[in-house]
Structures are given as structure tokens and as C-alpha cells.
Subunit: 435 residues, 2 copies
Amino acid sequence: MLMAETIRFKRDGGSLAADAIRTLIRAYSAGEIPDYQMAALLMAVYFRGLDDAELAAWASAMLHSGEVVDLASVPGAKVDKHSTGGVGDKISIPLAPLVAACGVRVPMISGRGLGHTGGTLDKLESIPGFRTDLSVERFVRGVAEVGTCMIGQTEALVPADRRMYALRDVTGTVESIPLISASIMSKKLAEGISGLVLDVKVGSGAFMKTPERARELARTMVGIGNRNGVRTVAFLTDMSQPVGWAVGNALEIAESVEVLRGCGPADTTALVESLGGAMLVLGGVAATLADGEARIREAIRSGAGLDRFRAMVSFQGGDPRVADDPSLLPAAASRRDVPAPSAGWVTSVDCERVGIAALVIGGGRRRKEDSIAPAVGLRIRARIGARVDAGQPLATIEFNDPAHVEHAAALVAAAYGIGPEPPATGPLVLETIGL
Amino acid sequence: MLMAETIRFKRDGGSLAADAIRTLIRAYSAGEIPDYQMAALLMAVYFRGLDDAELAAWASAMLHSGEVVDLASVPGAKVDKHSTGGVGDKISIPLAPLVAACGVRVPMISGRGLGHTGGTLDKLESIPGFRTDLSVERFVRGVAEVGTCMIGQTEALVPADRRMYALRDVTGTVESIPLISASIMSKKLAEGISGLVLDVKVGSGAFMKTPERARELARTMVGIGNRNGVRTVAFLTDMSQPVGWAVGNALEIAESVEVLRGCGPADTTALVESLGGAMLVLGGVAATLADGEARIREAIRSGAGLDRFRAMVSFQGGDPRVADDPSLLPAAASRRDVPAPSAGWVTSVDCERVGIAALVIGGGRRRKEDSIAPAVGLRIRARIGARVDAGQPLATIEFNDPAHVEHAAALVAAAYGIGPEPPATGPLVLETIGL
């Protein structure tokens, strides 16, 4: 089929054959299909969607546009976790060493922060000496020897996705569940994993603001994974407020160490246990989710997870003493409390505003090219359901450059809803799919 | 608004402000908006449509992307006719001189044939010496002195449409009623006219296969014209079989002369009278459609229309003696009848197949670059409702090169439906809009 015919076929609601999708993604990657035709097709996909068979073929074709990590030489199950992103979401950092300590290897290829959400790579790089730009060979060795390794996307993996994402960004075709799903899943499938746990965030800080949209995204991704031979399950989890008490790169590493030491925030620890438990089920080490959760708890209690974290930091060039002495992490020079304007109960926290507050003081990126300040960030002092007096701190801003601190404080103050009654609070895990 | 935001706004069903549309078309014309963003926007328009205000602004912005013909120096009303295209549609050729003879000037900028449909310019150029590539200045003089002139689109008129049409052609965004309407109307409005009659074809040979789609197209175009200060009316006319008995460039010129002489085919003559009558109403020369039709009939009877045709041919460098001696037109070397395979009544004619038959023997174009053979074509010998015996000719192919004549004959034979009962036949004019 000519590309113009393919576009019309999809535009009119047709279902593309797997073969046509393979040809199309291959030709686009090779520069044989111009961006204007791909842009029109992507907009047609925005309106018409992709069915399960199309999605599986689309993600598979994207995946095969480049190299795929070959973990065949590494024995045992390889399971990863992916989060759709939120504010204060440091889950991967304690999770991967804990799962590895329980006997399931975790090859993790992560991203950087953009806009109001942080990125695992930026957080890890706040550890002195830590490198995330390892070669694929060294990554495979890390997974084999340490049990987990965390690197960034390489040029060789899923090049079609990079080109297509840049095009989607400027053509109004980002907000498409099939295209989001195929993009995420193609990158995860390229890791050479046998199982995948998805953490799909719902709420003010998440890309998906409603459970309905989040469920659709989760189901779509689970379908792509399973059709491509990777057992995939999803959790819908609450993102109506930041995860834990820390938002900011070095601050979140310190909090991750607290989770590994068994003294982390309750919500963060609970998420690590649930997601980790599911990874152990997919890895064949635990029979049930409850069994898996118990094993993760035991790996915290015994210190096995913390040991594995030290080994990972060491393997990736970082200073493993951060696991014992958080003062080795960069620290901000100054602090500024954001006081509650009135007494009452915290009824809501607009995570997006909190994330942007961390960004304006230098902890995040507006554009991909921006550099970030690893030490700065926010400490959350009051979560939803807390009773606060007027003037009591809602959060503390940790900053170096005072230039934008008042802007950040205004954003944080505006992010908090304070009401006269204690709010109803929902569960942390809204539902699971495929487990 | 940034282009990516404009795309998302339209994608989500928003109505673009006139100012935003002007900025967007101007920036696209200037090469400041890349094709991939315009392609995504066009696909969003395909799905979301354009409302009346958006359409008027879109067509007006396209129109002002280049020069506009200035007919202010020419006194009186200037009215044009546009047909959405069909097979054997030579209406413009007798129509324009007849309307001019009745006192309403007709500035006509026409197109070339492509695919199964012929083009007025190609037909006119079968007259020895006839030129359609006049300058705009000479075109204006022709309208002033002769009362009508027929040229092709120039580079200076509506350049945005040329660029956008080329993009739509390869991005599956041709079949959009708003975009088709804006494209047609921007080119017609650029003629500097005060009134416009649209002939929207319906049926097997037309772009619009159903009355519903044709009505939607007609209403959309009428709305654009009226909102831009050009009084516009539309006829929905039957294209379930070719117009007249001749399909092919020189053959249609000869048939046009027959209409001007009062001995043309009934359907062709009736269409010329109706469309011409409406043009006289819009031009202020006739009070009613019936009055206008009577004036067109009188211009045929008196020979005033034929005189005006001779003057137009002369002005445009052609041999005016073709009006008296059709043997001066190029003629094909050979003839081949297409016999009826069985006896019965002609119940249907697939115009598209008939048009493609004319194309394969050289009378049309597959691609814009193709040259055409002016002499070749088809003579229709049996129309819908005719009783035919087995072996009686349905059509005669007039050809020079025998290479593709059997293919053409097979197409013509396949185009005819022959049944045991006489079919019900519908009216030639299905309805009028805005009159």
C-alpha cells in the first residue's frame, strides 16, 4: 500500500495489517516516509485509535527499529517496573535493589525529568560519581553481577520512538493512549525483559487525571506486553499528592535510603512493597502478591536491599557511603518555609504546582537542554488529611539561588487546599490489572 | 498561539478565530510553518470540520495568499460558473459565450483534466491555435472586450492552495468537504467576480456519489461565497451518465458548437439554459430563473452566442472557423464500436469507467505531467433508458494508437448495466440551493 493509501485507510477506521505496520515503521526509520505523511497518520491514529493487534505490531516494529538488549547470557527472570511519572516518585531507586536482593534481576532503562516531573537518572546522578551513561555491555554485566543496573536510553535502542516522539510533540499527537502505550512499551520491551510491572499514576500530578483514562492506558500497555510475550501487570496508584516527603534529586536519594533502612515514609514503603511483590510474582520467586510483599519487607529488615543498593552504586561509579551517610549528598544552602495561610485540614495538593515549584528553583527542566541543580528541592511538611494551624509550615523550600524562591513559595501555597473539615482519603493502590 | 497549540485546539473541537486562521495561512505560505504541522492540522480539520466563520476566514486567507484579479475597470456584473467535475462536462464552453451575449460578463479561470474527468482548458486547446496561458492583463481585456475569457490558474493566484493541495494529496486529507470547499472557493473568489453559480455533480461520475454529500458540499461553498460578499447559488445535477454524447477533447468542442447552433444534445442544452439562466439572475439581467433561461434560448436561436464564441476563440488566438466547420478540429484515425453483450434496457452507466476508457486511449491524464491526445475519445451511442439489441453499439471509441483500444472497449462494456426492464429515470437538476 502507498503511504497516502495507508493514511486514508486508517483515517476511515481500517485496521492495519501487522505487515503494513512493520513496513511503515521501517520506512519511517529509514527516512523514506516524510514527516508530513507520518504526522497525518499519527493524527488519524489519534482519532481512530489502534486495536490490540495493531498495537502489538506497532510496538514490536518500533522496538525492532534499533538494537534490543540481549540478556540471554544472564540466567533467571528479568523483570522491570515502569511508572507513568509523578512528583516525588523515587520508587525505582529502593525497589530495584530490593527485588534484586530477593533473586529477580532488574534491568532498568530510565528517563530524565521534564516539566513538573522528576527523572530517575537525574536523581541517581546526585550521588557523587554515579554514572548512568554505561554501555549496553556494561549494563548487561551489571544486571548479571549486581542483579540490577540503571541506565539511560541509548541512541541505538528504539530510534524510531525518538524521531516519532519529537514529531508528536509539535503536531498535537502526544495525548493518544495507543501512541503513548506503544512508545512506552517499545522502550521497555527493548530491555530484553521477561516480565513488567506498570505503575500508572492517577490524579493531579499524573498525566492521567482520571481513573478511567488511567485504566485505559494500563489495559492498553498490559495488552501490548502480553501480546509480545512479556508478562505484564499494572497498578493504578494515587498521585493526588507527592510520593513521600521529599521532592528534589538528592533529597529523594536520601529518602530512598530511608526506605531501604526501614524508616521511609509509609506511602513510599507501601508502594515499594506492592510493586516489588508483584515483580517477585512475575519473576517466579513468590507465589502470591502477599508472599512477594513479605519477601520485600524481609529484604528491608535484613539489610539485603541496602547491601544491593551499595553494590549498584559502586558498580556505576558512585560513592556507596551515601547509603550510610546522607551528608555526602549535595545539600542546598538555604531554607524557606511556606506557611499555611489559615487553620484547617489539608484537603488537596496540586502536585503539578509542587513539581513546578521544584523546577523554578532549579531542581527540574523546562527544556531537554536545561541543566539541573541536584541539591535543591522541597520537603513536604503536611499531607492530605493533616490538621494545620495558620502559619504552620506546609512545606520547606531548600534552595541555593534566592532569585526564584518567592515564586516557588507562591506556587506551593497555591497548591494547597485547606478546608474546615477533614477530607475523605482514598487508597494508595486503586486497582490492579492482570495480576 | 503556537502552531502545536493551534493543532491541539482544533483536534479537541475548538473553533479557530479568524485572526488565527489568517496568521496560520500567511505563515504557511511564507514557509514558516512546516508541512508536518500543516498535515496534522489538516487531518484534525478532516475529523473536526470547520464552522461557517472558520470557513469564510480560511477561504479568504487562502485567496489573499496571492494576487486577486482586479476587474474594477470592467463595468457591469461579472459572474462565473464552477462545476465539481464529471465525464463529458463541456458545459462551460457554450455557456460562457451565451451568458456574455446576454450582457453578463464571464471571467473564467479553469483547470485541466486529471484521472477520469476532463478539463475545460484541455478541450479548448484542441481548437487550432487556442491559448489558455494569457496574462492576467490580457484576461481582463478579454472579459472587457469580448465579454468572456477562459484561462488557466496562474502562479500568482492563490499560491497557498497549490502548496496545500499538493500536501493534502499525499496525506489523505483531500476528501474533506470544508477543505474542498475552501480550495474551490478561494480560487473562484480570486477571479474578482460578483456572482457565482455552482454545478455540483452527483452520481457515479462525480466526486460526490450521494445527494447528501453533494448537498453538504454545495451548502458549504454557498456559505463561503455569500460570507465573502459574492452572491453564490448552487445546482445539484445528475452525473449518473456522461453529459451529452461526446467524451474527449475535440469531440466535446464539436458538441459545444452544436449546442450553440441549437442542435446539441437535450441534456447538455437544458443544463446550459438552467445554469446560464441563474447566471443572468445573479448578474441582474433576468428577474427569474425562467426569464434567464428564455434569454439563453433566444441567444442560441439568434446566433448571438455563437458569434460571441467566435470572438472569444479569435481573441485567444484560435481559429474561429471551427464554429462553422468542425472538420478543422483534430480527428482520430480509427473507430471501434463497443457492442451490447445482450438485449435489454440500459439501466446504468458507470461514468468513472467511461472516463478511464477515454484516458487509456490517450484522451486524459494519469498524472499532471502527462500530455494528452486531443482528437481521441468516445461517442456515447446509448443512454440510460434506451432499448438495445445484442450487438448494437453502446459507444464508439475514436482512437489513433490501437495499443489500448481493447482495454478501453472492455472498460466501456463493463460500464454499462443492461436489464430486462426499462429503468426509472430521475431529473437532470436534482435541486437548487440559494436561488
